[in-house]
């Protein structure tokens, strides 16, 4: 009976966390929009999301033991994120192209690559994260790391220009009228071995 009580207590806490985090993500998605709800819902969702986050200790200092303990539990159980995959709308994807400039003036183009398709899906996820991050510094560091991985394969390259863009997908009717996917320039970074951090160039 005692074991059952322990299981029951854990069950209540565990599912309370799952439900609360899923509700928070749903509110966040509505707040980010666009959704089928009228725009006036956005403000309500933002406020509600903030309240739920506060209730979950997400507004506490990062070093707070309660927040740290909760984060640890969420990560080890796999419930730290919601389940809104491809929701409410399917986002576009991103593309990163490297221009490799050789000392003799030659230019080659390369894409970041991995060996197997399973890792390829992960690489696409990485590009999505680079594209979606709000932090310019983080974006630049990640692009720089990818450029460095390429540099190891081409040690004689003088400079690398990384061009990051989003892929614009055509709608069904656009596709029927001959329009295909297109690329929109977002950022460019120039890297050289001696210069250190690249200089970003925004659209």
């Amino acid at each position: 009976m005692r074991q059952k009580r322990v299981c029951l207590a854990w069950f209540v806490l565990h599912f309370l966390l799952i439900i609360t985090f899923s509700c928070r993500e749903t509110l966040w998605l509505i707040a980010q929009g666009p959704t089928i709800f009228p725009p006036s819902f956005k403000r309500f969702s933002q406020r509600a999301e903030r309240s739920v986050s506060a209730a979950l200790g997400q507004r506490l200092a990062a070093s707070n033991p309660v927040r740290q303990a909760l984060a640890t539990y969420l990560h080890i159980t796999g419930i730290e994120s919601g389940y809104g995959y491809f929701a409410p709308n399917v986002p576009g994807s991103y593309k990163l192209v490297f221009e490799l400039h050789y000392p003799d003036g030659r230019v080659e183009y390369e894409l970041p690559r991995v060996n197997r398709a399973a890792a390829g899906l992960r690489l696409a996820g990485l590009l999505d994260q680079i594209g979606r991050t709000k932090y310019d510094a983080l974006r630049e560091i990640l692009v720089k790391m990818l450029a460095q991985s390429l540099w190891r394969e081409h040690p004689d390259v003088k400079t690398i220009r990384a061009v990051f863009g989003s892929i614009r997908l055509p709608s069904v009717s656009e596709f029927e009228h001959g329009k295909r996917e297109s690329y929109e320039f977002l950022y460019a970074y120039d890297f050289s071995l001696r210069d250190g951090p690249g200089e970003p160039e925004n659209p």
Binding site: I36, T72, G78, G82, V114, A124, S149, F175, E181
Partner: protein, 310 residues
């Protein structure tokens, strides 16, 4: 009320579902590690020899919590005994593969489940920028598996060792946990999809299928079937949102499970997300698969009796 709740949460169940979960996750872990064999060190290296530095993901993870398992712990431990990072990562990969094999055979079930959960979690968290949905669901499945009353009757442990879990109510409890978690997963997944207009007119399904790297089917073929896209989009919303209701009803359970399997098989083949599809099928098969045939027969039999009485 309390009694009914306890009866619901602790039903006496056989361990068939646990066998399915163990075998399924054993297969999943084995395929997961095999699929990353050639890229493992490249994706998870922290010394500037990989794709991106593992140290960055681990530093960001530390902002959230210092206690979430990560490969950096193992690398630091290896450094104490003179092992290089590459060697530690290779050993971790091999141990994960062995844990998957252990689960498949049912050998040292509990230890294999704990090892698989720990190493997979380390890899998923250290490769934070490279993780996606499949990692979450593997963590969820492996977490429940390692806490469940192993070994099950189809494991080698059952045959070779004296210790056996006997209380069928705990088999029932952990099955309920998995069942209810799946209900929440599908409900919120469906609900958030319903919020987007693109799922009602089929445009989101179109975008999902032509979006690199999921664009396995040429758009020229897809466009011929574009009239079906709204129907499929709405069906996905309804199947997912309706899951917490219709999966419990005897009459609709089989249909709903078939629809869910169909949806995940389609995701696997049309978008190339084989591991994601497999883990979802395994979790569903373990949670709602066992006893389905007998319940269906019971339901049909009940209907016939009812008709005969009328």
């Amino acid at each position: 009320m309390r009694k009914r709740l306890l009866e619901f949460l602790f039903p006496a169940e056989p361990d068939t579902w646990l066998s399915i979960l163990r075998l399924g996750l054993g297969l999943q872990v084995t395929l997961y590690s095999s699929s990353l064999q050639n890229d493992w060190n490249y994706l998870l290296s922290g010394t500037g020899t990989g794709l991106i530095s593992r140290d960055l993901a681990e530093s960001l993870l530390s902002v959230e919590s210092h206690f979430v398992p990560r490969l950096g712990w193992l690398v630091a431990l290896g450094a104490h005994v003179g092992l290089r990072e590459e060697a530690v990562l290779s050993v971790a990969w091999f141990c994960l593969l062995a844990a998957g094999g252990g689960l498949l055979l049912g050998l040292a079930c509990r230890s294999s489940a704990i090892l698989a959960w720990f190493l997979h979690l380390c890899a998923a968290k250290s490769g934070g920028f490279l993780s996606y949905g499949v990692d979450n669901f593997m963590t969820i499945g492996l977490f429940y598996l390692m806490l469940s009353p192993l070994p099950d009757r189809y494991s080698l442990d059952w045959r070779l060792r004296a210790y056996r879990s006997k209380d069928p109510q705990f088999f029932g409890f952990w099955r309920r946990v998995l069942q209810l978690h799946l209900c929440l997963i599908y409900f919120f997944s469906g609900l958030t999809k319903c919020l987007g207009s693109g799922w009602w007119d089929g445009s989101n399904l179109w975008r999902a299928l032509i979006r690199p790297p999921f664009n396995i089917i040429p758009p020229e073929i897809l466009v011929r079937w574009n009239y079906f896209l709204p129907v499929l989009g709405i069906s996905i919303c309804l199947i997912e949102t309706g899951y917490p209701v219709f999966i419990w009803l005897k009459k609709t359970r089989m249909v709903w499970l078939i629809c869910i399997f169909g949806m995940h098989i389609a995701i696997g083949f049309t978008m190339g997300m084989y591991l994601f599809a497999l883990v979802m099928i395994i979790l569903n098969a373990a949670a709602f698969g066992p006893g389905l045939a007998s319940r269906q027969a019971e339901s049909t039999c009940g209907q016939r009796t009812e008709m005969a009485i009328r």
